[in-house]
Each structure stands twice: as structure tokens, then as C-alpha cells.
């Protein structure tokens, strides 16, 4: 019976080609637009470290004078608080984060000097964030202590300076110091670049830059502070620094700390430690407030509203558009089926059951949905290609993964069933007698 219904559906669709094309196109465009934006949304709002993010936390204390902040502790830490918290070693793992820009040259490579972003961190960074290495490995805790002249470079920089070969052991000139390369990262692209997320509340929804690439050069904090002295910039200050660029003793926040706490009990203990630290500092007169916060990685991303407002707007717009296309197709199919009331009445009078009529109409509607779904899938691929050509930091991330591939097809089928189900139901409930009377 299915084959026969398919023939009938094809005949009926061929009878009015323009209209058929219109319905298919409406579904295709609706699905294409909504699945493109949904894929981007899915990529940008996903968990950057699945399985680990629940154990990562961002401790915050407040060293600013009374009245300086109105919305809880500042987004970063001052140098002294960060070093105090880090050197207490109360967490399972912990990594300091200091960002700066530095001039890089490779004595072996004949290239003009480059300015790159440098991340100064501590040895736990690599196991804690599951950072993949192409060559070599992270530095050791003793390198953190001894200001060792070591560095790790990104695969991008390795390609640029050393042609992608194993550059472990080679020398890199950072500003005026030579450092030894101990590791080269494999391509690594957490989305968002979670450990650098901060200040999202002040970005007015323009947060696309949270999805940039990781830094090209990584050094121990102690090393970084020494070789790039005078080039560190604040997140914010309550006193203008005496010597701009030198922030260790300034009234500025510019250092971040991430900690890994493996179970709830440890989280509670760490919270207690933070509170105790803030109270102790207040007693010493260094803090004005004892407020602390310990958001988890996902809470921190939510707090910063990392998904750009434009992406959310586009998703909303695409779904409104899909709704319009859907209403359109349902309305047209309904009118089409009801116009065939006479035919349906005859079939019913000759003994066809409601189910048979419903099945016949659904085959026709499903065919339109299927064609629209395939078109929508192609349009989604095209849409993502367009997104990749946009000048935004997350452009290179826009690909259809397996999950979204399946979701696109599921959406296409759901839309076609929705578009076809209602008209088919309505057509199958036509009373045969009434239709036959008018014949």
C-alpha cells in the first residue's frame, strides 16, 4: 500500500509543481536557518571540559577598598592574594593565570620578530585542564619555584617558526631572554577559552572574543613575571599603579587562580579556607570586606554570559522564521487536502478506513517534509560555511558534529510530521456522506 500511496503523492505533488516547490523551500529554509544558528549556539554554550568542569572552581576574594565594587568580588585577584591562596596548596590541583604580550624571536628561524600573547601559569595547568601535547610535556613544580627559563609553545607557533617539527630543546628568545622549549601543544581549542573568561558582565553581550585561540607561548608565572617585567596590564585598579606595567605591589587585580576540588567535602573545606583567609586579611587591615565566592567553571561561564548576545538573537530569529514557514506549510497542505474532499469522500464510501486516508495524506506530507529536510540539511552546511567566513573569533569552530547532524535530521522529520500530521488528521475526519452529496 505504501508504494501506491507514494505514487499517488508524487502524482499529486506534480500536479502543482510551483506550490510543491514553495512548500519544500519553506521547510528547507526554515530548517536551514534554525539548525545553523542552533549548531553555533550548541558549539558556543557547550562544556569546554566535559567530565572535568564539575571539579574546577574559580576562587574570588576582594582586596578593594570599601565601596569600590557593588556586585561581589572583582573578577580577578590582586597579586598578593593570588600568591597567598596558591602557595597554601589547599586544593587537589591549582593553576595561576597571568596574561601578557611579549615579543618572540627564534634564533634558528629567520623570521621578523612577532608579538604574541603569553600565558604565565603553574605546572598543574596541564594535567588539570587535560592539555594535549604533540611533543615533550609540561614543566615541573620545581621549575615554578626556580624561575626556570622554559616555555611551551602552541602548535600554531610551532608551525610558523619551526615548520611543525619537534622543536623540544630548541631556544626561543622572549623579549630579551632565551628560554628552552620543553613542550609543544597539539592543536587545542577549548570553546570558550574558559580559563581567560572574565569581565563578561561589562561586555554588553559582545563576548565573541571569549572564543579565541589559546596563547602561543606558555611560561611559569615566576619566569614570565621576570622576563616580561613592566608589560603586565591590570583588569582594573583602585589605585593607579606607581609604575605602570609593574603590578606586584599595586592596588590592581590582574591574576586569576583556578583550583581543582575532587569532591563536595573538599569544596566545603576550600570555601571555609577562603572565608578564613578573607577574615584574617581583614583583621590585618588589608581587606575592607570579607566577601568571597567560589563559582564552579560552569557557574563562572554563566555569570559572564559567555554566549554572545548576537548569537542568541540570531537563534531566536531563526526559530521565529521556522515557525512562520511551518504555519505556512500546514496551511497550504490543509487547504490542498480539504480541496480533495470529494475524492476522499469517495474512497471512504468505498470502504477505506480513516487510518488509510490518514496514512495516504501523511505519505504526501512526509514526502514534502523529507525533501525539505534534505534541503534544510544542505542549507545548514551552507549556513555554517557562511558562519566560518564571518570575522568572529569562533568562526573556525562552526562545523556540524555528529550530534548536531543527527539533530538536524530529527528536526527535519519532526517538522515534516508536524506539518503533515495536522492536515492529514483533518482530512481523515472528513465525513463521506456530506462530500458525496455535493458531487
Amino acid at each position: 500500500m505504501f508504494g501506491y500511496y507514494l505514487d499517488l503523492a508524487l502524482l499529486s505533488l506534480k500536479r502543482n509543481r510551483v506550490l510543491t516547490a514553495l512548500m519544500v523551500l519553506a521547510i528547507a529554509v526554515g530548517i536551514g536557518a534554525s539548525m545553523t544558528t542552533l549548531t553555533v549556539m550548541h558549539l558556543l554554550s557547550g562544556d569546554p571540559l566535559p567530565g572535568r568542569s564539575a571539579h574546577l572552581f574559580y576562587p574570588q576574594v576582594d582586596a578593594s577598598p570599601a565601596g569600590f565594587t557593588r556586585h561581589g568580588p572583582l573578577d580577578m585577584l590582586d597579586y598578593r592574594s593570588a600568591m597567598d591562596l596558591w602557595s597554601a596548596h589547599r586544593a587537589d590541583r591549582q593553576a595561576l593565570i597571568v596574561n601578557s604580550q611579549i615579543k618572540v624571536r627564534a634564533p634558528d628561524a629567520n623570521l621578523p620578530p612577532l608579538m604574541v600573547n603569553m600565558l604565565s601559569t603553574t605546572s598543574d595547568f596541564f594535567p588539570m585542564f587535560d592539555v594535549p601535547f604533540a611533543y615533550g610535556s609540561g614543566w615541573t613544580p620545581s621549575d615554578d619555584e626556580s624561575r626556570a627559563r622554559v616555555a611551551i609553545i602552541s602548535s600554531d607557533l610551532n608551525d610558523k617558526m619551526f615548520g611543525g617539527t619537534d622543536s623540544v630543546g630548541k631556544t626561543l628568545r622572549l623579549k630579551d631572554s632565551d628560554v628552552r622549549i620543553v613542550g609543544v601543544l597539539a592543536p587545542w581549542r577549548p570553546s570558550p577559552l574558559f580559563y581567560d573568561v572574565r569581565g563578561g558582565r561589562f561586555a554588553n553581550g559582545d563576548t565573541a572574543d571569549f572564543y579565541g585561540k589559546p596563547e602561543d607561548v606558555l611560561t611559569p608565572v615566576s619566569t614570565g613575571l621576570e622576563i616580561n617585567a613592566g608589560n603586565f596590564w591590570q583588569f582594573t585598579c583602585w589605585h593607579a599603579p606607581e609604575k605602570p606595567g609593574y603590578l606586584e605591589n599595586a592596588g590592581c587585580v590582574w591574576v586569576a587562580l583556578w583550583v581543582q576540588l575532587d569532591d563536595a567535602a573538599k569544596v566545603a573545606v576550600y570555601r571555609g579556607f577562603l572565608d578564613h583567609y578573607a577574615q584574617e586579611q581583614k583583621a590585618l587591615g588589608r581587606f575592607a570586606s570579607t566577601q568571597t565566592r567560589l563559582p564552579s567553571l560552569t557557574q563562572w561561564l554563566d555569570l559572564n554570559g559567555v554566549v554572545p548576545a548576537d548569537v542568541k538573537l540570531q537563534t531566536g530569529l531563526a526559530f521565529a522564521f521556522l515557525a512562520i514557514c511551518l504555519f505556512n506549510t500546514i496551511g497550504l497542505l490543509l487547504a490542498k487536502f480539504l480541496r480533495r474532499g470529494g475524492e476522499i469522500g469517495v474512497r471512504r464510501a468505498l470502504g477505506a478506513s480513516r487510518r488509510a486516508i490518514f496514512a495516504q495524506c501523511l505519505v504526501e506530507a512526509g514526502l514534502i517534509g523529507l525533501l525539505g529536510g534534505i534541503g534544510g540539511w544542505l542549507l545548514t552546511l551552507g549556513g555554517l560555511w557562511l558562519v566560518r567566513r564571518q570575522p568572529v573569533a569562533y568562526a573556525d569552530l562552526a562545523h556540524l558534529d555528529l550530534g548536531m547532524f543527527a539533530a538536524t535530521f530529527a528536526a527535519a522529520i519532526a517538522v515534516s510530521l508536524l506539518a503533515g500530521g495536522l492536515p492529514a488528521l483533518r482530512a481523515s475526519s472528513i465525513a463521506p456522506a456530506l462530500q458525496l452529496k455535493t458531487l
Binding site: 504555519f327 505556512n328 497550504l332 570575522p391
Partner: protein, 404 residues
């Protein structure tokens, strides 16, 4: 024209009519809000920078120590001034639509109690005020002895020029000349008012704050270095920029030219608004597609109804209805459906706008967008239904005598 029979007929096609009405409601809501978003993005993109953009460009140098600033600046200025066609080269810390180096909160009292907002300090060396082409409204521009050396992040004490908008915000209705602002212990006295000067990053600020800027005259030093403003005739600028990179490469082989930031102000402006331009383009695309789909939906549905009612139309014609009557019947029917849909759409548009205001800090939708949106949909509906309605009007009365 009697409306009663139209309602009776529509009642038989409740579901289809309702679906088209819903489609129109969504279209109306999206149309109003999308147009409003386009308008606000366009008005931002058209912002008046207050400077001679077409004649200006910037070179940004990095990768040297602050202790070498004097030497680097001397060599860079010599090299840039030697390029044929360059009219002016001056140091300027922040660049309109480019580098942002002077964003700070100010107070209007020495005690730091009266917060005046977060503004942009354009710290400029000799010649930069004139090179920018800023227009004075009152007071005076910077004079030679206003330019002083400084050692901190910014000059600690200076006579400054302030934009009209910022002056009006800080001292509403008062004459700003002679007034003072503080940034912590740093202290500035207003000696001139400029018409306007845009921030380096206007998209990041609310519309009213995009030109809260001051011009601070200063002499080059460790914290005013490496950021140059070039002025040349607009047609010479692209060549001047190419020559400038070569000249800097020769004069200062060891510094790094920030190529992303070293561009003409026109290019920088395009770059700052690229996301807004893309979004506005996308919205226009969505509106066109939306209206197209809606119109075709109306055509399709009306065509079906006309075909379905051929016999009834024939009977009406045989009973004396004119072609005009039939035409008007379908037009009125469409008018009723669109009106119903548009009323829903107006409510939906307001709802969506309230949500946008809450979650995206969008301003309130001006109410006149709503009647305009309804008018557009009425016109669209009438245009779309015209062809099927004309076909209906052509049905001859003789159809009434035939069976199907």
C-alpha cells in the same frame, strides 16, 4: 459589502484561516522588532567621529622597552615625516575606532565622591589636536605650553578639551569652561569644548555615552609612545601606509609593527562595525525571506479557496453579483484575516520587545513601528490576494449550471 457571509465561510475553514493569521502575527512581530534592530545598528554605524576620518591613518609600534621610547619615537617620527604626501604626524595614545589606552572613571570633585562616569582620555602630543581636525565649540584649543612631559600612566595635571556631550552630562546647563575633573589624584581643568569625538570602541557603550571623551595635551614619553596619527590627502593614504611600513621597517628593524591596528581610520571604522553590518544584513535577509514566504502562503491559500469555490462563485455571478463584488469578497476576506493576525502580531511584537529589553538591554520599541508594520502587512496581503481574486472574478456565471 456584507461581512456576515465572509465570516460564515471562514468559519468553515477555521483551521487554515487561523494558521495564516498566526503566520501573519509572527511576521508582524518579527518585522517590527527586526526593523527596529536594523535602525539602531545603522544609527550606530553612522556615528559622527568628530575627526577627519578620510585623511587619517595610524601606525602602531610595539616590542620595545619604555626606556627606549624617546629614541624610537624620534626615529619613527623622522621616518614617517619623510614620506612624500604626509601632511602631519603626531603621537596620540588612543585612536578613534582603533587602540584604546585611556579608559578611566572620573569624579567631579577632589575627594572622589561624585562619580562622573567612565570616559576616554585621548592623550595627544603636539600637533595631534590639529591633525585630528577636531572642531572647537567654545574656549580654546591646546597651546604650546599646555603640552607637558609626564611620568605616570597619564599627565597628572593639564588643561583639557572636553566633548559637548560629556560636558552636558557632567554639568547640565552650566558653562563647562573652567570646571575641573579628577581621576584619583590626577587633576584636569577644562579650557575648551569640542563638538564631538568618538570613543575608540563605540559599539561597547550605550548610545548616550559613545562620545564621552577628553583631549589631554602632553609631550611624548614612556607612556605616550609608539602610537602615531598620520594625516595625508585621502587619495594618498593607501600609498602612504604602504610606504610607512617600509620606512619603519628600515628605520627600526627591531620593533614590531602591529599590522592589525596600523590602518587608515576608514578601515578601522569598517572593522569596528563589521559585526553590526553583518547582523543588519542578516536581518534584512530575514525580513525579505519572511515577507516572501508570507506572501506566497497567502497566494497559495487564496488560490485553493478560489478553485474550491468555483461553483459557488458561479452561482453568485448567476444570481447577479458583479465581477467587482467577487473581487471585493476575496479582498475583504484577506483584509479580515490579516487584520486579525496583525492585531495578534502587535501584541506579540510588544512581548518580544519586552523580552529583548530584559535580556539584551535593547531600548524600547518606538510605538509608531507597530501601525507601520500593520500597514505593511495589509499592503502585502492585498497584493498577494490580488491575482487569485482576479481569477475568481473571471469565473463565468455559466459554471453554476455545470456539475463538478
Amino acid at each position: 459589502m456584507q461581512i456576515q457571509p465572509i465570516f460564515a465561510a471562514l468559519r468553515k475553514h477555521k483551521l487554515a484561516a487561523m494558521l495564516i493569521a498566526l503566520e501573519i502575527a509572527f511576521a508582524c512581530a518579527v518585522l517590527c522588532n527586526a526593523c527596529f534592530m536594523i535602525a539602531s545598528r545603522l544609527s550606530m554605524m553612522g556615528i559622527d567621529s568628530g575627526v577627519d576620518e578620510s585623511a587619517l591613518a595610524t601606525m602602531q609600534l610595539t616590542g620595545y622597552d619604555a626606556s627606549k621610547a624617546a629614541d624610537v619615537d624620534a626615529r619613527a617620527l623622522t621616518a614617517l615625516r619623510a614620506i612624500p604626501g604626509v601632511q602631519d604626524v603626531a603621537l596620540l595614545n588612543s585612536i578613534p575606532f582603533g587602540a584604546r589606552r585611556g579608559t578611566a572613571g572620573i569624579t567631579t570633585d577632589a575627594g572622589g565622591q561624585h562619580f562622573g562616569g567612565v570616559i576616554e582620555f585621548y592623550v595627544g602630543g603636539p600637533g595631534s589636536f590639529e591633525a585630528l581636525g577636531l572642531q572647537l565649540e567654545s574656549g580654546r584649543g591646546p597651546q604650546t605650553d599646555d603640552y607637558r612631559a609626564f611620568t605616570g600612566l597619564m599627565p597628572g595635571d593639564a588643561s583639557i578639551q572636553i566633548t559637548q556631550a560629556l560636558a552636558e552630562h557632567l554639568w547640565p546647563g552650566a558653562n563647562p569652561l573652567g570646571k575641573e575633573i579628577w581621576m584619583e589624584k590626577f587633576h584636569y581643568r577644562v579650557v575648551g569644548v569640542i563638538r564631538t569625538l568618538v570613543r575608540p570602541d563605540p559599539p561597547g557603550w550605550p548610545a548616550a555615552q559613545r562620545d564621552w571623551c577628553v583631549f589631554v595635551p602632553a609631550l611624548p614619553g614612556p607612556y605616550l609612545t609608539g602610537s602615531y596619527l598620520l594625516r595625508a590627502a585621502p587619495q594618498d593614504l593607501p600609498r602612504v601606509m604602504r610606504d610607512a611600513s617600509v620606512a619603519i621597517g628600515k628605520a627600526l628593524p627591531d620593533v614590531v609593527i602591529d599590522r592589525q591596528a596600523s590602518r587608515t581610520l576608514g578601515d578601522l571604522r569598517d572593522n569596528v562595525f563589521r559585526n553590526d553590518r553583518a547582523m543588519a544584513g542578516l536581518l534584512v535577509g530575514v525580513i525579505v525571506a519572511l515577507l516572501g514566504v508570507t506572501a506566497l502562503g497567502i497566494v497559495g491559500l487564496a488560490s485553493f479557496w478560489v478553485a474550491q469555490r468555483r461553483k459557488q462563485i458561479g452561482i453568485r455571478r448567476a444570481l447577479g453579483a458583479t465581477r467587482g463584488d467577487i473581487l471585493r469578497y476575496f479582498q475583504t476576506e484577506n483584509f479580515l484575516i490579516v487584520t486579525f493576525g496583525a492585531m495578534l502580531g502587535v501584541a506579540l511584537a510588544i512581548g518580544i520587545n519586552l523580552m529583548l529589553m530584559r535580556f539584551f538591554e535593547m531600548p524600547q520599541l518606538p510605538l509608531w513601528y507597530l501601525p507601520v508594520g500593520v500597514l505593511v502587512l495589509w499592503a502585502l496581503g492585498q497584493l498577494a490576494v490580488l491575482s487569485p481574486a482576479l481569477r475568481a472574478a473571471k469565473v463565468p456565471p455559466v459554471v453554476a449550471t455545470r456539475s463538478v
